[in-house]
């Protein structure tokens, strides 16, 4: 007996641990969504602040709208299509039916990434084909002008969602059909129904539970999907999951916790509804078989449950439609400008303000990295108007003819940009770009964990700090640190120099200097005091500082990279006028001040840059720490030892890739 009890206790402990392991991440996420502070590791008290913030976040509300709209439409279309398909399967001979059922099941098992990439390729191929046809049609007639260039967007997203939802509906409806007496349809027709009447009056009520479960499953899948959406949404539509992913790229805001909590709850509720329904149906079926023989006492069908059900369904529908309307109001307006920037890289008040002032609707998207943005544009899958690439990428895009020349007459605020940010190497004649922000890369370190003040890149390769250093997971920046340390040009194309810099990183890695190669995790690790030293962007350091006052930032004495992100208009833009209006608006002093305050990156607008301390004082009624200001806007003596990235030749880029692969991370 005792041993069994002991086993039981052991089993329970194991169960508890497994449960903890499975759910701890979600609990932590939920708890931190109520955190007062903006850290994901430091608890500063309970608050609903981030939920309130969510409602004001235009980008998130828009993606909620897109998500709900695409999920609802896809669910409706897939439910109708899937139901008819299931009925079609049902009417087939067994062999054909089994084959088709197998074909139907494969997409559910198939890796999402394969489905996503497959659909993406299909769309690209179809659009190319369409382009050829449209051009040909337009060339010999002018009555109907067909659009020659189709891009992925809401339409393709919807098609993809319908596509992956249909199998779930079929899977859920088919068993209901099989359970149905084959003679029911005959009986209905026998009693005077046409086939259609029989369908509505007999088949639908019989398979309704299956249809509803199918629709709920499809809706859940749609809300939940990221990978397939990511490949098929193109650039102008972004689902909630995609937005969250985009947000993690630049700065981990606790808003993510809040929205993830809501998403988790939504999916949880849907799953509970589906499972409760299934359990209920199972019970009913069992009672049916049991009650078949003995006469059961007359039971008046309860009128309350159907009424409750109807009220519940009605409330749900109203809630959904309400959310759609609320989130959809933003999506009004005829004139549009499609902007693609980085996550958390704008004060969204500015978007609303711009829309109110000009009546132009802003479709604000985010990309992950310069390289990802480049491939989107080069592939022809982007329909952006304004993009905000970094310096070297502006050079590359301009060299490849992908950027439109700007009409600076439409951008009078360009005059407000400081001359030192004009005519830079990436756009020497200033034809394509208007600077958005600038900043430096440096070392972030925890003063409580490091004894001496740091001023050299050497710490990034020093065994003294073994397992305390976070290396940036980006070949260009990582090798930049090594090149600076070795005294080489950060834009060198000399493979021997690059090889030497690489060996430095490789040796340090082999000696266990690095705790890891990271990007976003830097926030948690540095804020939580899990690592002592790392390298990152100045603006992001200031965000970390809010959660951990021990952190310090330095631009090493050997020099570093300084960067400019600049607004450009794509050659393919259909809204050049609106794009220039947007650029002009963002270049204004007011917009630059708001942005600076929001994202902590320095402004290229002279008035804004110089006026920021006063602006800060007025807004927060306290003086801006001059040290902070200097980190944000590096003074000339610091900037003097920094260099800007140049667009490297193709061979050098390949050499970078080759080296980075050898590192084996």
């Amino acid at each position: 007996m005792t041993t069994r009890k002991k086993n039981n206790a052991g089993n329970r402990l194991l169960m508890l641990l497994v449960g903890l392991f499975l759910y701890a991440p979600i609990f932590i996420l939920i708890i931190f969504s109520f955190n007062e502070g903006n850290s994901s590791t430091v608890w500063k008290g309970f608050s609903l602040h981030w939920y309130a913030e969510l409602l004001n976040d235009r980008l998130i509300m828009h993606s909620v709208y897109i998500t709900l709209l695409v999920s609802l439409l896809a669910t409706i279309i897939a439910t109708v299509g899937g139901t008819f398909a299931a009925i079609g399967f049902y009417g087939m001979r067994r062999k054909a039916r089994n084959t088709l059922t197998a074909v139907n099941n494969i997409p559910m098992m198939n890796a999402d990434i394969v489905t996503g990439v497959g659909l993406c390729l299909l769309f690209v191929v179809l659009f190319n084909g369409w382009g050829a046809i449209a051009t040909w049609v337009n060339s010999w007639q002018s009555v109907i002008v067909l659009p020659e260039r189709l891009t992925m967007g809401f339409g393709t997203l919807l098609i993809a969602h319908v596509c992956f939802n249909i199998p779930y509906v079929i899977l859920s409806v088919s068993p209901k059909l099989r359970q149905m007496d084959r003679n029911l349809v005959d009986a209905a027709q026998d009693l005077g129904c046409t086939w259609m009447q029989a369908f509505w009056k007999v088949i639908i009520p019989e398979i309704k539970p299956g249809i509803i479960s199918g629709a709920l499953t499809a809706f859940t899948m749609s809300v939940d999907d990221f990978i397939i959406s990511y490949f098929t949404a193109g650039t102008s539509a972004s689902t909630l999951a995609m937005t969250i992913y985009g947000m993690t790229k630049k700065r981990v805001s606790p808003e993510i916790n809040a929205i993830s909590t809501l998403l988790f709850l939504t999916v949880l509720i849907l799953l509970v509804i589906i499972n409760v329904r299934e359990a209920h149906m199972e019970k009913q079926r069992q009672s049916r078989t049991l009650a078949a023989v003995p006469a059961v006492p007359v039971r008046k069908p309860s009128k309350i449950t159907p009424v409750l059900k109807r009220v519940g369904a009605g409330a749900l529908a109203v809630a959904l439609i309400g959310t759609l309307i609320v989130t959809g109001v933003a999506a009004r307006g005829d004139r549009v400008v499609n902007v693609c920037s980085w996550g958390e890289y704008i004060d969204e008040e500015l978007i609303t303000q711009f829309e109110e002032e000009t009546g132009i609707r802003v479709n604000y998207q985010t990309a992950e990295s310069n390289e990802a943005l480049y491939s989107l544009i080069a592939l022809g899958g982007a329909d952006f108007d304004v993009i905000v690439p970094s310096d070297y990428m502006v050079g590359r895009l301009a060299a490849e003819g992908l950027l439109a020349e700007l009409n600076y007459d439409n951008i009078p605020n360009y005059a407000l940009i400081d001359d030192q940010y004009k005519n830079l190497s990436f756009d020497p004649e200033n034809k394509y770009s208007v600077p958005y922000t600038w900043g430096t890369v440096g070392i972030i370190y925890n003063t409580a964990m490091v004894d001496e003040p740091i001023d050299s890149w050497s710490v990034m390769f020093d065994e003294q700090y073994a397992d305390e250093v976070l290396m940036i997971n980006n070949s260009r920046d990582a090798l930049m640190a090594a090149l600076c340390y070795l005294g080489y040009d950060i834009n060198t194309t000399d493979e021997a120099q690059l090889q030497e810099a690489f060996e430095l990183v490789r040796t340090a890695k082999a000696n266990g200097v690095y705790q890891g190669f990271v990007m976003d995790e830097i926030y948690q690790k540095m804020e939580g005091g899990n690592a002592a030293i790392s390298m990152y962007y100045a603006g992001d350091y200031l965000t970390m500082l809010e959660n951990n006052e021990d952190l310090a930032f330095v631009v090493p004495k050997e020099g570093s990279n300084w960067f400019v992100d600049a607004m450009c208009v794509l050659e393919t833009s259909q809204h050049k006028e609106e794009a220039e209006a947007w650029i002009n608006f963002i270049a204004s002093t007011e917009a630059n001040l708001a942005n600076m305050d929001y994202i902590w990156y320095a402004s290229p607008n002279t008035e804004a840059l110089e006026g920021y301390p006063a602006y800060y004082e007025e807004l927060y009624e306290e003086e801006l720490d001059s040290e902070i200001y200097e980190i944000m806007a590096a003074p000339p003596e610091v900037l003097d030892r920094c260099e800007m990235y140049l667009n490297l030749p193709q061979e050098t880029l390949k050499f970078y890739d080759k080296l980075w692969t050898q590192l084996g991370i």
Binding site: D186, G192, C193, V298, R299
Partner: protein, 379 residues
């Protein structure tokens, strides 16, 4: 004789090159209770589905009241069906199930209530209006199915093995009930079954079918007393079927002996099948017997004994109230009326020998709670 209502003319049906109905010709009179009887796969359900309009024949015509109705869909035919396993609508209660056809026809509510009430009393289900279908017993569901069909006042009611799923007692009660309902409503019933007893009990006319062909059409008495071939003789009741020769009218020769009988019209010395029903054989002392055989098996059946008697290697079934011990020698006598002579047919030699008799033969014969495959094949 009442007037003809339905006629099937040269009806053929093939599923995937497999001939299911082979040239069926049949007419059905108004107010007649006609039964299609046959083993599973004989085509009886297919015939019924063609009359109901659920299946279109490969060739041949169906006429209703003299009008060809091959292409008339089921919902436009004045015919209703009671399906195998009832096919009641599970999402509707008893009342709404019965009212279904009337609702489709947009009959006013008051009339719907009146007619449903009337049907409920016809099938003795008054008070069950609000029951859910899954709260009914098999027999009650059966009655709902009948009421649901009859409430539309069809000219013809098709019944597809309606009693197959009921237990024996209930089946007997429902047989009487169905006959009563048919007489009360005065309409034509076309009934499909594989149960010969059911067919004989209820029908005005029985159509025996096998392998897609009609074997015999006649009254229950005709079918039983004057089977046309060995198949019918064997399928309807028990029969000993022997090879014989018709020496001349009223004289048949078997076992090298001549027996007086009452049949005629055959060529002299024509080989024939001789049918002797087990109950038409009298057991007599050995010296008085026309034939002498050895009892090999005795089964007590309640009302009678089933005994198997070996006559020179051919085993007969005899039903008698007199006990004869196993192994005993007995004589038998058969009255001239006891012989039934049939022409030789494709079925000759296939039936009527009880050599393989065992006590389970009855169960084996009844094990036909079947037709699953049949209906599946015919979809």
């Amino acid at each position: 004789m009442s007037k003809e209502l339905i006629r099937l003319h040269n009806l053929c049906m093939a599923f995937d090159d497999e001939l299911v109905l082979d040239n069926i010709n049949l007419y059905i009179n108004d107010s007649e209770f006609l039964t299609l009887l046959g083993p599973s796969g004989c085509g009886k359900t297919t015939t019924l589905r063609i009359i109901g309009g659920f299946t279109t024949p490969t060739s041949g015509d169906v006429t209703f009241d003299g009008v060809r109705i091959n292409d008339v869909p089921p919902h436009k035919r004045q015919i209703n069906t009671v399906f195998q396993k009832y096919a009641l609508f599970p999402h509707l209660d008893v009342f709404e199930n019965i009212a279904f056809g009337l609702r489709i026809a947009k009959v006013p509510q008051a009339e719907v209530e009146e007619r449903v009430k009337e049907m409920l009393s016809v099938v003795s289900l008054v008070g069950f209006e609000n029951r859910r279908i899954d709260q009914l017993s098999g027999g009650q569901q059966q009655r709902v199915a009948i009421a649901r069909a009859l409430v539309n006042r069809p000219k013809v009611l098709l019944l597809d093995e309606p009693l197959g799923a009921l237990d024996l007692r209930l089946r007997k009660d429902m047989q009487n009930e169905l006959k009563r309902i048919q007489q009360q409503m005065g309409i034509t019933f076309i009934y499909v079954t594989h149960d010969q007893e059911e067919a004989l009990t209820m029908s005005d006319t029985v159509v025996v079918m096998n392998k897609g062909r009609i074997q015999q059409i006649g009254t229950p008495e005709d079918i039983y007393n004057e089977p046309k071939n060995a198949f019918v003789a064997d399928f309807i009741g028990e029969s000993n079927i022997l090879n014989g020769t018709m020496v001349r009218d009223n004289v048949v020769k078997m076992y090298g002996r001549e027996f007086p009988c009452v049949d005629g019209g055959f060529a002299p010395n024509e080989p024939v099948d001789v049918v002797i029903r087990p109950e038409d054989i009298d057991i007599v002392p050995v010296e008085q017997g026309q034939l002498v055989g050895t009892v090999t098996n005795v089964t007590f059946k309640g009302m009678q004994y089933d005994i198997i008697v070996d006559f020179r290697g051919f085993k007969w079934l005899i039903q008698t109230t007199d006990y004869s011990p196993e192994g005993g020698r007995i004589g038998v006598r058969i009255e001239p009326e006891g012989f039934h002579i049939m022409k030789k047919s494709e079925y000759s030699g296939m039936f009527g020998d009880y050599s393989s008799y065992s006590e389970e033969y009855e169960e084996l014969a009844d094990a036909g709670v079947e037709d699953e495959e049949e209906s599946e094949d015919e979809e």
